[in-house]
């Protein structure tokens, strides 16, 4: 058998059921790996006592023959999900030592399914970023390095800690969230699988809000099957989130391996960017060939408003963020900075000291586009373009069942490499943002390496609430790609 940290989630599940390994052994191996690879800075908080207690309880359940779907599986939770009694920071100074007295619905579901809590993973502050360099707890290091180059690379963001932890084998899977690509882009940068499900599939209750009409939770895992197993347990209707969809949750795992024979795959011409790296184009063509070989048919489609998705996003998301982040006032929880004066001075001093540069920029942009006299020109205009972007997809679904695109315009970059200005960083999400605006499911699957030996991902988009087709196509790509490269920095 592989080392415990080298197992996939599905393999660990089988090993636990067959009693070839105990939940305690599995937890201990992962805790040791986290300690050994501490310099990746993938975790903000590690919870060893909780992990061992969860594992002991899981072993008892397994012994009694009462194992639940994720019994004894060690997971990491993005530190954007509130966890009862465990510090939850959103990687921001402003949340200080906030210890939630409640549990997010998604993490509660995972614990109810028997999962073991290893701790909370690092992220961009308030999930705003594409490189995990905006965290108040320091940047995360990508476990992958360029061939012959020892420089640290970014893991992508905002779920950079979750992606790095999964890639480096510090956990069997992790929760993440995706507002404009924050699951799929870091998954692509770390050679892992990440799915953002349909808006409404996972409850947002107890997840620190960034942009409420775009935020969705999803898993990052090492295989398509593992992602399907996790997503099933994370999904489901929650009366505490009014946007949570009251629809049945299919057995996503059953969709994996069903094949793509007869499926119609769309290839949108607008995703072919000027000056796109030839390797990205080649990977895309390879993906098309794999799906054709597996029995799918390929269709050229048009999503005419694609190029307006990013600017639309950078109105909608900051606008919602400026409203959501108004709650951090230094009064009820989190950081308080008092420099004398009145209540307004308290607010301004607290928020001035508590928010990092990127969060502050987005709050100011959001405040501006919502301010008197500018609302129609910016916010209303963006909502109209958003409608056109959704309409493009609705049109496409008349002729195709899924859409294939690259996941990112490049592989992982070094810290500081793409940070000349905020807009350059925003361009990382050019392929992922449209799915958030339209509320559609999207997955990133590791599909190959670039010339420097870094992983590249392909993205599959599907109809609303049709994650099953997304998983079918992703599994076909995974099987054809046979991606078995490993990051340089990893446990066993």
């Amino acid at each position: 058998m592989n080392a415990p940290t080298g197992l996939t989630l599905a393999e660990a599940r089988a090993a636990l059921a067959a009693k070839r390994i105990s939940a305690r052994e599995l937890a201990e191996a992962h805790l040791a790996a986290i300690e050994k690879l501490n310099n990746l800075n993938a975790f903000i908080t590690v919870t060893p006592e909780r992990a061992l207690a969860d594992a002991t309880a899981a072993d008892a359940r397994i012994a009694r023959g009462e194992a639940r779907p994720l019994e004894g599986i060690p997971l990491a939770i993005k530190d954007l999900f509130c966890t009862t009694g465990i510090r939850s920071t959103a990687a921001s100074r402003i949340l200080g030592t906030f210890i939630p007295p409640y549990e997010s619905t998604v993490s509660a579901r995972l614990w109810a399914a028997g999962a073991v809590c290893l701790g909370k993973t690092n992220l961009d502050e308030f999930a705003m970023g594409s490189s995990n360099t905006t965290s108040a707890f320091g940047n995360v290091v990508n476990p992958w390095r360029r061939r012959g180059d020892n420089r640290d690379l970014v893991p992508g963001g905002s779920s950079g800690g979750s992606a790095a932890a999964v890639a480096a084998r510090l956990c069997l899977g992790a929760t993440a969230t995706d507002t404009g690509g924050s699951i799929r882009q870091p998954a692509a940068f770390t050679g892992t699988v990440g799915i953002k499900p349909t808006y409404g599939r996972c409850s947002r209750w107890g997840i620190v809000a960034f942009a409420s009409s775009l935020d969705q939770a999803g898993p990052i895992a090492r295989t398509v099957r593992d992602a399907a197993i996790l997503l099933r347990e994370m999904s489901g209707h929650d009366p505490k989130d009014s946007t949570s969809a009251d629809v049945p949750v299919p057995d996503f795992e059953a969709a994996v391996g069903q094949g793509v024979k007869g499926l119609r795959i769309g290839v949108p011409k607008e995703y072919r960017l000027d000056g796109m790296a030839p390797e990205i184009e080649a990977l895309w063509q390879q993906g098309i060939a794999w799906l054709k070989d597996a029995g799918a048919t390929i269709h050229d489609i048009s999503l005419p408003h694609t190029r307006y998705a990013l600017p639309t996003y950078y109105i909608v998301a900051p606008a919602e963020a400026s409203s959501n982040l108004a709650r951090y006032d230094g009064v009820r929880y989190g950081l308080r900075v008092e420099e004398g004066g009145d209540l307004d001075d308290l607010y301004e001093a607290t928020r001035g000291a508590g928010f990092g540069a990127e969060v502050r920029r987005r709050i100011l942009i959001g405040t501006y586009v919502l301010s008197a006299g500018y609302y129609d020109a910016y916010y209303l205009k963006a909502q109209k373009v958003r409608a056109l972007i959704q309409r493009d997809f609705d049109e496409a679904w008349r002729s195709v069942d899924a859409i294939l695109t690259p996941a990112t315009p490049s592989s992982a970059f070094a810290i500081g490499e793409k940070q000349d200005d905020p807009v350059t960083m925003y361009l990382n999400d050019v392929f992922t943002v449209p799915a958030n605006l339209a509320g559609l499911p999207g997955i990133s699957v590791p599909s190959g390496l670039d010339a420097s030996g870094l992983p590249l991902g392909l993205q599959v988009l599907g109809r609303a609430f049709d994650e099953e087709t997304v998983f079918r196509v992703a599994a076909a790509i995974e099987a054809a790609a046979g991606f078995d490269a490993l990051p340089q920095l990893r446990a066993a």
Binding site: F98, I99, P101, Y102, Y199, G200, S212, S213, L214, P239, S242, D246, H305, Y308, P311, Y314, I315, S322, A326, D329, G330, V331, R332, Y333, L335, R336, G341, D342, L343, D345, L346, E348, A349, R351, G352, A353, F355, R361, L364, I365, T367, Y368, S371, L380, K381, Q383, K384, V385, R386, A387, L388, Q390, D421, P422, V423, N436, A438, G439, L440, A464
Partner: protein
């Protein structure tokens, strides 16, 4: 549309974020760069398009307008940066707002 320094100060005040005077010029540059990039939306024809506020495809559910939880005084105050406890109960404490 381009922001002047005074508008940057006004937005920061609206957002209740203290911005040091020496930061205004840099922020002005960054915000104007982002806004100039966003400006490309003006070339999209949106006449008669119904604005889309969210990606939700089903009607929002309504629930009974009743209290679903309560008596969580201690939990609610547990993270308070400052609190006041007196004969009337326990409260969040803030600087004096009424003279």
């Amino acid at each position: 549309m381009s922001l002047d320094a005074e508008t940057v100060r006004r937005i920061a005040a609206l957002a209740r974020i203290r911005v040091k005077e020496e930061e205004v010029a840099r922020l002005q540059g960054e915000l104007n760069h982002i806004l100039a990039w966003i400006e490309q939306l003006s070339e999209v024809e949106t006449e008669g398009v119904e604005p889309l506020p969210g990606a939700m495809r089903m009607k929002l559910k309504m629930r009974e307008d009743v209290v679903t939880e309560g008596d969580l005084h201690d939990a609610i105050l547990a993270n308070a940066p400052d609190r006041a406890d007196n004969a009337m109960g326990s409260f969040f404490a803030v600087p004096k707002v009424v003279e």
